[in-house]
Amino acid sequence: MTKTITCILCPNGCTITLDTERPEETVTGFSCPQGREYALSELLHPMRTISSTVRITGAAHPRLPVKVNGNIPKELIFKVMREIDKVCVKAPVKCGDVVLPNVLGTGVDITATRDM
């Protein structure tokens, strides 16, 4: 079966097609090696990154923007969101500080994306 995948790695958004039976040999439409890897991984096990905010006290704003600093399995997105919701940090925070390590045992940390 032929499958069409839109690459999400960069703004080009390449349309990549592959045969689900023989993906390695049939994958076409990518314009960089990362695109090829993305399409193959999307077929086997889709991964995503997400961003959100956590509560912060003693800062100029009530919310601190955060992100996962690596890929997480797509099916864990909403579970990770629930973990992020439990976090509350105190100012000052530096960009890159870990606010929640190894979220749900994924090996990925939730980190601050700005100073506050």
Binding site: T6, C7, I8, L9, C10, P11, G13, T15, R48, T49, I50, S51, S52, T53, R55, A60, H61, P62, R63, P65, V66, K67, K74, I77, F78, M81, C95, T113, R114, D115
Partner: protein, 424 residues
């Protein structure tokens, strides 16, 4: 108070312009920012996807801003936040007000306009119906959610499939809202393909193309939004109405460059871009006043804003160092818009100042497949380049080498797009 270069706006454009001006030896540089902190709209764009061109890595909006803010320290650039510019005069006096400094007049050797843009509202697109609460611009909702920490609704419909609309569809979904659909007037989306994939398809949010909102119902809070299909002239087709029970309607229906103070300075505005008419160094029609970023024309990617702002900052520094326009005005070549071309930036080029090449950014007005971009002077084709697909939503870049201007020999240059079979 006098500064060699004053930058109006401390978002991505203003930050890059100020930094580049200082690096190029402009001397004293001041950034005026109306918000309480630098970074502009990037602060609320907490999603990833910025910086791939400029930093060669994926950053979130706040991270992208943070890098520029960090780079300011040690440059000697002064910053005034919470400061609103009210008026700029053609002789480069800036009148501004803040609660700390009160009313002030700042004289500038050169000015960089970097005020960004604002969102079109319900009024701008005349959606009929009642006037309940619950109708927001997508960017306002983004600010409430990501900076203030308020969810503005639970059952959401989004009008407009530009990137802000798509990003907010995902963001509201992640925070527990039910996003019923994204509705788009045009027969194609105006957002990036990857945002359709990762913001809508990932969460099974339907996209209705060639549809629009034709009625808004609700006494105090929004209760229902009516969506109709439109014909090829964008007229709603009777009998196609679908009623959505929603408490929130987000509008992502276009951006307008904020040029109010540009106009007080006498800067000529291009009605195609709603931004200033500029030359290749980003100088407006008023000598010593430059413009860059979304106040000049609305960009797709912040990376391109940074690149353009650096040109404006460099232009301002050169203007200061040369005590005027380097080499004088000289001969000016206008860039004319041919078939399918909506606008170009710059709109004019100082021919004698072209060193090796200049970059021209432009947008097409329609979707064009198998396109050929022709650069012409009169009937002579000076250059041609193929594009597989051109979309109004995607800004195009064209490099015009010096030899094109030599070949034009003083004639205006037209940029036109034809279909491949017509080109033969």
């Amino acid at each position: 108070m006098y500064y060699n270069v004053v930058v109006i706006g401390g978002g991505p454009a203003g930050l890059a312009a100020a930094e580049e001006a200082a690096r190029d030896g402009a001397g004293s540089v001041l950034i005026l920012e109306r918000d309480r902190e630098l970074g502009g709209i990037l602060n609320q764009c907490i999603h990833s996807g910025f910086g791939l061109h400029y930093f060669k890595e994926q950053l979130t909006g706040p991270e992208y801003a943070q890098r520029f803010i960090d780079r300011l320290s040690g440059t000697g650039i002064d910053v005034k936040t919470d400061t609103m510019v009210l008026n700029i005069t053609p002789d480069k006096k800036i009148y501004a007000v803040s609660s700390k400094d009160g009313y002030m007049c700042i004289e500038a050797g050169a000015i960089v306009l970097a005020m960004g843009c604002r969102e079109r509202t319900r009024g701008a697109i005349s959606i009929p119906g009642e006037r309940p609460s619950g109708v927001f611009t997508a960017g306002a909702a983004q600010r409430y959610l990501n900076i203030e920490g308020y969810m503005c609704g639970k059952k959401v419909l989004i009008l407009g499939s530009g990137d802000i609309g798509l990003i907010m569809a995902r963001r509201m979904t992640l925070e527990g809202a039910e996003v019923k659909a994204v509705v788009e007037l045009m027969p194609y989306s105006n957002g990036l393909k990857r945002n359709i994939a990762q913001c809508l398809n990932d969460y099974d949010i339907p996209l209705y193309l060639s549809h629009t909102v034709t009625d808004i119902r609700g006494k105090t809070r929004l209760e229902q939004a009516v969506v109709s299909e439109v014909d090829e002239h964008f007229v709603p087709i009777p009998g196609t109405e679908t009623v959505f029970d929603v408490d929130t309607l987000l509008l992502s229906v276009g951006l307008i460059p904020e040029n109010e103070v540009s106009k007080t300075a006498g800067v000529e505005i291009d009605r195609r871009t709603n931004g200033a008419v500029v030359s290749e160094d980003m100088m407006t029609g008023v000598e010593g006043i430059f413009a860059c970023g979304n106040v000049l024309h609305v960009h797709d990617l912040v990376d391109f804003v940074t690149h353009e702002a650096e040109k404006a900052g460099k232009g301002a520094a050169e203007y200061i160092k040369n005590k005027g326009v380097p080499g004088g005005e000289g001969r000016v070549t206008r860039l004319l818009n041919g078939q399918f071309v909506g606008y170009t930036v710059p709109q004019k080029v100082h021919t004698e100042r072209v060193d090796k090449f200049i970059e021209v950014l432009f947008r097409v007005k329609n979707v064009v497949n198998n396109a050929v971009v022709l650069v012409k002077a009169g009937d002579d084709v000076l250059m041609s380049t193929k594009r597989q697909q051109m979309l109004p939503a995607e800004m195009e870049k064209l490099i015009l080498p010096k030899k094109v201007f030599d070949a034009a020999a003083g004639r205006d240059i037209e940029i036109t797009v034809v279909k491949e079979d017509e080109a033969k």
